[in-house]
């Protein structure tokens, strides 16, 4: 029987790692993710998890050790956030290019400067081009589930790409919620043993990994990563189905909430989705035709699902905790790509909010709705809106 425990998001991630039985874990402490390796080292110390836990001297070495382990043919896991993920940046491309299905838990946190330990998504968003799949959890249960799902998808032979699972710093990493821990036997059945056919370092069958690719081959290698990421779309949906059958919880690329007759749809990721549902309920009571949507999978970007969502809305308001300087929010830019050749499309608006742990309040969401309503009525509004700025200190 699945066990229910009250736990922090970081503990949920550690539990997911324990259930997935990676043979090698390499991690380095960083706020807000430190509890993940702490909890994992307890599991290892108590003999509850039979893994090598490498206490590396940096995040760069954490991911490098994971690459080494995964290339040697075993399941590997790590956890980090923010500066730690940025330090891994170089090796993230390599992990994807070498087709190593490493899974990483991220306590989504801002990037310096100024140094700030609180929540936004700048860390993972900034790694969107590395070839890693990206999942975002709304709550601690999702953090646990999505890590298991990430392993399953990553190790699928049609994919063989690494994956990161983000859950918001402090809002989830340090907040306790009830979490259902699946039965080990069912997880074992779901994930199976990882026995790669493409990556091993076995003296009985020596292969060379990490070759130099000349212009005659490099582009094809990159194309294969592209193809794998495209394949991941279907594989993720299959795995979501299988996950539901085994564990009873349903996941979607994009999960919609009261969107059926909505004129304005608020699209977001992560824990903000929970806030939006409450907010939508409140606005519905006031008679506003509004809905919300949560993007669970950011890479591969759910292009078809965005198109379908856009058909329902007159204004698609994107609420995101990141910024790509000189263009706007990354999700806004990506959603624009999804809709660019659609004959009919809603007005797309971008709302950058909640950076560096700034609370996202209902007052801020009211502002989002006000701007969206103006756009709906044909008034000209800004496409990129910074919400909740303290104008008095600018």
């Amino acid at each position: 029987m699945p066990m229910r425990k009250v736990m922090k998001g970081n503990e949920a991630a550690a539990w997911a790692a324990k259930l997935a039985k990676p043979k090698v874990i390499a991690a380095f402490p960083i706020t807000p993710s430190t509890l993940v390796p702490e909890k994992i080292s307890e599991f290892v110390a108590d003999g509850e998890l039979d893994a090598e836990f490498i206490k590396v001297e940096s995040e760069h070495s954490a991911i490098s050790a994971c690459v080494g382990a995964s290339a040697a043919g075993v399941r590997a896991f790590t956890a980090t956030a923010s500066q730690g993920l940025a330090l891994m940046h170089e090796i993230l491309f390599i992990a994807a290019g070498m087709r190593l299905p490493i899974v990483m838990a991220i306590g989504n946190r801002s990037l310096s400067a100024p140094i700030n330990i609180w929540n936004d998504w700048q860390d993972t968003i900034s790694e969107r081009d590395t070839g890693w799949m990206q999942f975002y959890a709304e709550n601690n249960q999702e953090a646990l589930d999505l890590i298991l799902i990430a392993f399953k998808v990553a190790e699928d032979e049609r994919v063989l790409l690494p994956a990161m699972v983000g859950f918001d710093a402090f809002i989830l990493t340090h907040t306790v919620e009830p979490v259902e821990i699946p039965d080990q036997e069912v997880v074992d059945e779901f994930l199976g043993e990882y026995v790669p056919k493409h990556a091993y370092l076995d003296p009985a069958r020596p292969i060379t990994q990490g070759s130099l690719g000349f212009p005659a081959h490099y582009m094809e290698a990159r194309y294969k990563v592209w193809e794998a990421m495209e394949n991941a779309r279907e594989v993720i949906k299959e795995v979501f189905d299988e996950f539901e059958k085994k564990f009873g919880r349903r996941y979607h690329m994009i999960e919609e909430y009261k969107t059926e007759d909505a004129e304005i749809i608020l699209l977001t990721m992560g824990s903000l989705a929970g806030t939006l549902k409450d907010f939508v309920d409140k606005k519905r009571e006031e008679g506003v035709k509004i809905g919300a949507a949560k993007m669970t999978v950011y890479r591969p970007f759910p292009i078809e699902e965005i198109k379908a969502l856009a058909k329902k809305a007159k204004v698609l308001a994107i609420l995101e905790k990141n910024v790509s300087f000189g263009i706007g929010g990354a999700v806004f830019a990506d959603a624009s790509r999804a809709l660019v050749n659609e004959k009919e499309k809603p007005i797309l608006l971008d709302f950058i909010l909640g950076l560096g742990g700034r609370d996202v309040t209902f007052e801020q969401l009211e502002e989002v709705v006000e701007i969206s309503k103006k756009a709906l009525e044909g008034e000209k509004v800004e496409e990129i809106n910074w919400i909740g700025l303290r104008k008095e200190i600018l």
């Binding site: 090698v24 170089e90 090796i91 020596p206 990994q209 130099l212």
Partner: protein
Amino acid sequence: MMAVKKPPITTREYWAPGHAACAGCGPAIVMKLATKAFSEAMEEKYGDPNAFAIVHATGCMEVVSAVFPYTAWKAPWIHVAFENAAAAASGVEAAWKKLGRKGKILAIGGDGGTADIGLQALSGMLERRHNVVYLMYDNEAYMNTGIQRSSSTPYGAWTTTSPPGKYSIGEDKPKKWVALIAAAHQVPYVATASIGDPYDFYRKMKKAASVDGPAFVQVLAPCVPGWRIPSEKTVEIAKLAIETGLWPLFEIENGDFHNIKFQRFPKDGKFKKPIEDYLRLQGRFKHLFKKPEAIQELKNQIKELWRILGKEVELP
């Protein structure tokens, strides 16, 4: 019937012909000998000469040996990046442990990848006591990018980023000795070697591969284009480095600096050949002969190194 003597170095090959290294490449000799030594050690220890995997830092030997779709490696081999061979090797070793696979991991990096950009990962790997041998092939500059100085470039040497000029004698800092840094981690085995004494290098690689836990070997490996030397002089120059006292051969076990073992050390501490014999054969030191004070400074630095190692020496 003639008795067949066992060759002093195994005839097994892991470094195949067809790699793209320069004629007379010192590091290429290192690759060949190191893997052979590893193989013999693994055969003696585990009964399986192939019980090893190689993790290679970015650098000349990586680039010349693994151009897709070809490979010069007859052993399991992986390259990840420049600065992380030791970290990636830590991961491979951990995986092998969990797979129950017997053997040892050989990490290889040049001096740039080891003394500079990879030093942190190296320190971490040594400190965590992974069962890895880290082999630093020292050609004393960033040769793969076209001869830039590293912290392992010796005093006085020309490189493209330490050019001699009106206000420069060439490289103006003493060489950083990574072997001593490695030994300070108190790991089971640290050694220096030179391809000028292949049997000494071979023995040390075997020893490094045989000990339980981490080991570090720093081997001098002349670079033909980088040192401005004729391709047939590689080994001769590497030999002169030993004979002039410029390249100490030593072994330090468990960080015991009080009991350093030396090889090829003259009993009276007097080296017979002057370091000028070593310098003269190399274009990278050509300019020093117009600046005898710089050669004297280099000699002082070498004497100081020997003194730190516990030996008073005389350099002619």
